[in-house]
Symmetry: C2
Subunit: 155 residues, 2 copies
Amino acid sequence: MDSPVSQIKFASADVSKDELDSSALFRPRFNGDGLITAIAVDAEDNTILMLAYMNAEALQLSLQTGIAHYWSRSRNALWKKGETSGNVQIISEIRTDCDQDAVILRVRTQDTGANCHTGRKSCFYRSLEIGDDGQVQLAFDQEDQPLFDPSKVYK
Amino acid sequence: MDSPVSQIKFASADVSKDELDSSALFRPRFNGDGLITAIAVDAEDNTILMLAYMNAEALQLSLQTGIAHYWSRSRNALWKKGETSGNVQIISEIRTDCDQDAVILRVRTQDTGANCHTGRKSCFYRSLEIGDDGQVQLAFDQEDQPLFDPSKVYK
């Protein structure tokens, strides 16, 4: 997904809903904080890996380099995923939805293949279960064990 | 996923990041608008169908009834998916992510199996392509054709 140009251009999102869902032009509809939602998916087995956000720069860099870049809302900074852990995400495809406020990234994760800061492959490692008292509990997915030790990687 | 109780209870999200990612209690972390992000996925073939939002009531109703309910930001109202089109989503599993601000719903969609308001199975029916001029264009997925005519369903 290498870009032949140094400058990636997006069309304006200031169009009707009908134009957004029928358009053959990418019109990313950033929210009030300048962000679009991004879902990263394993390109090989379709596991949903994580949900994150991108600003225009992160989206342009992801398209230009073929490597996933996000916007970290907690650090308020551009975030090249895997820069610390080595678990860089190589993008094979980006898709957008009908109203163009979200993207899916199909990725191949390098190194250990972990995508979650807990060291697991996926951030979605727990499923909901309703207890007898109505309290909703979480069951851990035993197949999704940490692939690295976060305390050693993030110092 | 029938609930044995009439009242679904969530634990408080006012805990540390470490507690959120290691907790065996569901602590949905609603944003400033009282919403959590929800990704609906086809339980059979793992296709990502749509991205939407839930408030606490939509999440409780989804858990109690086993049928996907969302919060419509455009209509500012509770939204039982498929109420008009018949394409109700039956939930087989709900998962949450490390910081508990997003959920995945694994669903089986009834009737035509469409989930997008355009009549398609998935809202993510277009992929991004970079043109020679740097303009990002969208290629339509020819396999994801409309399963119903929106002009006849939504009057």
